[in-house]
């Protein structure tokens, strides 16, 4: 009979329509601004700069090595290096970025900057409600806008952040051990020169403390 196939298709539609009253699987729409789906942990949107501790300027992990600027496929990162140094996340004195800008209207969220960063300084944020009325300066994010705390990173990507923290702690321990070893060696060498020349007062260890 002509029209049988159409009726069969409509029966399928009717089954879905009536089924949507009883089965949650058939009712898939989410009323967005009121209802929200839980965020998926791996989700990424735009990059941000991680800082440790309280002060965002002191704790910034970025050492302005220009790797992300060079590797960024659409070239949306702009960095200017500082002239002085400050201690970085593992305690070595390093340069820091005087200017760090990301043009998010150019950024394509590919997260290659995150992959190439050897200092775990740049990570991907998950904030997505970012519309502005100004498409020029409001979309050029500066250092202050980009800096977000390590706690924020832990909140959005807990698994990844824990791994990064463990790695940084290991590196910090290594740097501290190395500093201690060199200090010990220096102290021993001082003690040796002190014992070799008894004229000088033999108290280098005490002065070190």
């Amino acid at each position: 009979m002509f029209g049988e196939g159409i009726l069969r298709g409509l029966a399928e539609t009717a089954r879905n329509f009536l089924g949507s009253y009883v089965s949650k699987n058939r009712l898939t729409t989410v009323q967005y601004p009121e209802e929200r789906l839980p965020q998926i942990e791996a989700y990424r949107n735009f990059p941000f700069l991680v800082y440790d501790g309280e002060d965002w300027q002191q704790g910034l992990r970025c050492v302005s090595c220009f790797i992300c600027e060079k590797e960024c496929p659409p070239k949306c990162i702009f960095i200017e290096k500082s002239t002085d140094k400050k201690p970085d996340a593992v305690g070595k004195p390093q340069f820091y970025p005087k200017v760090f800008n990301i043009d998010v209207s150019v950024c394509m969220s590919c997260q290659i900057c995150v992959e190439v960063c050897p200092f775990d300084a740049i990570k991907m944020d998950t904030d997505y409600e970012l519309s502005t009325t100004n498409r020029f300066s409001a979309l050029l994010w500066d250092k202050q806008h980009l800096a977000k705390s390590n706690e924020h990173y832990h909140k959005i990507h807990p698994t990844e952040a824990a791994a990064v923290d463990a790695q940084l702690a290991a590196e910090r321990a290594k740097v501290a051990a190395k500093a201690k070893a060199s200090a010990d060696a220096k102290a021993a060498a001082d003690a040796k020169t002190a014992s070799a020349a008894p004229a000088t007062p033999p108290v280098p260890a005490a002065s070190e403390k």
């Binding site: 989700y43 394509m108 290659i112």
Partner: protein
Amino acid sequence: MGPQHPSTHGVFRMDVVLDGERVMKLKPVFGYLHRNHEKIAEHETYLGSMPYTDRLDYICSLTNNWAYALAVEKLAGIQVPERAEYIRVITAELTRFLNHGALIGFLTQDMGASGTPLMYAFRERETILDLFESLTGARMMCNYMRFGGCRVDLPAGWLDQARKFVATLPRFLDEFERLLASNEILMARTQGVGVLSKEFAINAGVTGPILRASGVNYDLRKVDKYGIYDRFAFKIPMGEHGDTYDRYMMRLLEMRESVKILNQALKDIPEGPIIDPKTKIRGFKPKPGEAYGRIESPKGELGFYLVSDGTANPYRYRVRSCCMMNLTVLEQLCIGHNVADVVVILGSIDIVMGEVDR
């Protein structure tokens, strides 16, 4: 027709000469979405082109990633670990599933079935995109494959989630088929419309489901056996008539075969590393030479041709785009049919303008 026509799947113009309602001549006009992809890639590092490949065929970004990664792996002679191969097969087959589902939805949309099949297909697509998001971090622009493997390992519980989802797919396919397959309007609009003969399809370089709908047994998964496709048992569905209805049925049958592959791959996936530890992320410089990597993307043969001169950027980077090649036969398919059929034929060819114009 076009470039701002809702049925043209992007910005695409056709210069059509008509005699009444009948198409006498048709000239496709490309280039409205040209983004200079190949030239940009010559100035990027090898890794830097990976996110751009997502944007070729933006419905199936993971298969594009795979084709490019395969070309670079051939160029540099990198081996891919077992687990990464399995992850690639799983993600590629999920991509094929969502592409074919979306295609059938859009095809019926072009015929005037305003929305219902498309919404059913998108309901499943949504779940697949959620799986992609929890694996790669993005729903469409995944940027997931790397030279010598994949970027991150599967998160905890991903495999169970995927297995549970794949188990529901046959039921969805039955529903999808019941919804449309015997529909008289669909048959009247598609059977005998836009017949592509076997010889012409081969001569024109058409690949993918369209070629198989014309009755040519050519699937790179069987011909090349790239990756680990020789380990899975699956069939290549083939059409007889080469008309729009065959092209539509081909997609439905391929989705069923994809589910078979997914079931086997999700069962056998081993533990192990996901990336070759020797590959470098930064300072990747393959030795001088050339390579052509191709895969069976959901739309046809997608190939990347690379020439390296030993520096960090490719000397030449060329995309063999399946959509572009398939679109070249449009005139022969449309001549003698009505204007309304042009829309349906274009829909059944399955193009994404992002890949046609690059």
